[in-house]
Amino acid sequence: MAASTQPVEKRKGILGGLAVVAVVIGLYWSLAVAPPDAYQGEVQRIMYLHLPSILTAYLSYFLVFVGSAMYLWKREKRDDLLAHAAAELGVLFTALTIIEGSIWGKPTWGVWWTWDARLTLTAILLLIYAGYLMLRSLIDDESRAASAAAILGIIGFLDIPLIHMSVYWWRTLHQPPSILRPDKTPWETVHPSLLTALAISFVGFILLYFYLLSLRYRVGEMRQEIKALRLERGA
């Protein structure tokens, strides 16, 4: 087995390397090259971080959904490992999204936390997928934990549009439409290098995400084999 992991290791190395390169270019571009936004000035640069992390968070929820559905259908361990890895990364990136959102909110609205629709929505998603990890860790039986988590993965994902609607309706009820509408996309004044900064950051984040995902997936796989070898030794 050890021999065959060389190419896998190498592939992960390349992916990691690429991710780092893309991230560095993205950082350089979004911090140095791109001009400040006409309205928000420098603070708008946080968007180059905020939007990619929102995307990776939603990508994680989707992967958890796909992994869970496949696991329930086909009962293959690898789908479950994928769902678990994606959920863990999903929680990480959701937490980061909230942090960025509130830091961005401070100069813009003057407060660290406002019940702005997007922030609230991200907080709820963080609770759901943190609950997913809790549920998985609190069930001892391996296969039961996997199928219970798969159910929650599916139901959580199906609930996202409903939560999305209810939070946005609830939000528009209370917040008078201010000039700086927080949930309007910030790149009204489309400036080419703004877009490229965003594009590169997106690429960087996606590559990084899949690199971390493959690492976490591999850790899950190895732990599974370790359990099997120990059980075989013990039985």
Binding site: L135, D141, A148, I151, L152, I155, D159, L162, S166
Partner: protein, 225 residues
């Protein structure tokens, strides 16, 4: 229809057990009224503000009372491995889901039938004529709660710290129902009819239908031993 026959069978068994021991319904009833008193003392609201706060307080009381019911939902099945007996039998697992959902629904509705008028008296609200409309909203909200609650109760059946994990996993998913019921009840209380809250009502209905069907389809995997 096979499904309904089995649902009725399991439901009547549960109701018979509940009628005999009455442990869930009594605890839920007392807990509901207890919460009312606690809310009454903690928010001594000026009368005009009460109408505004009433929906939130009521619905919070129902939510926590319902969670008590959910924790006890599969108690009868936990003794003597009766859950295995049911899984062994030709009982359609969707029927088990429907039976357990309607059982918890009946318990919660009983509690709500008592607690709501009591709330009116305690907070001496005037709008008695609005109670039927309010009760319709509560009914839809309770259905949504019981549907998702039953799935989560079955899901956490074999987890450690089961009673703590259930609300933790259930409440974030319930946010659409919580927001919808409170908005609907507020608009009914404020201007006597649903008005623009109809979209919330549709959301509530959609939530119930979606997760009722998901529940029936997916309960096979939820409850597998």
């Amino acid at each position: 229809m096979e499904l309904l026959k089995h649902t009725y069978l399991v439901l009547s068994k549960d109701l018979l057990l509940e009628l005999r021991r009455r442990d869930s319904v009594l605890t839920m009833f007392f807990f509901g009224t207890l919460l009312l008193f606690v809310f009454h003392f903690s928010f001594d609201l000026p009368p005009d503000k009460v109408a505004e706060m009433a929906p939130a307080l009521l619905w919070l009381a129902f939510l926590f009372t319902g969670t008590l019911g959910l924790a006890q939902l599969f108690q009868a099945e936990r003794e003597n491995h009766c859950l295995d007996a049911l899984l062994l039998s030709p009982l359609d697992r969707g029927a088990l889901f429907l039976a357990k959902t309607s059982f918890n629904l009946i318990l919660m509705l009983l509690v709500e039938l008592v607690v709501m008028p009591l709330f009116w008296i305690l907070f001496n609200l005037s709008a008695w004529n609005l109670l039927p409309q309010l009760f319709l909203v509560t009914l839809l909200g309770t259905i949504g709660f019981c549907v998702l609650g039953t799935i989560m109760s079955a899901l956490t059946l074999r987890a450690r710290a089961r009673e703590l994990l259930l609300p933790l996993v259930l409440f974030p998913l319930m946010i659409p129902v919580i927001l919808a019921t409170i908005r609907c009840m507020e608009s009914v209380l404020k201007n006597g009819e649903f008005g623009d809250a109809v979209s919330w009502l549709k959301l509530l209905l959609g939530f119930d239908v979606i997760f009722m069907t998901v529940g029936v389809l997916i309960f096979d995997w939820v409850i597998e031993s």
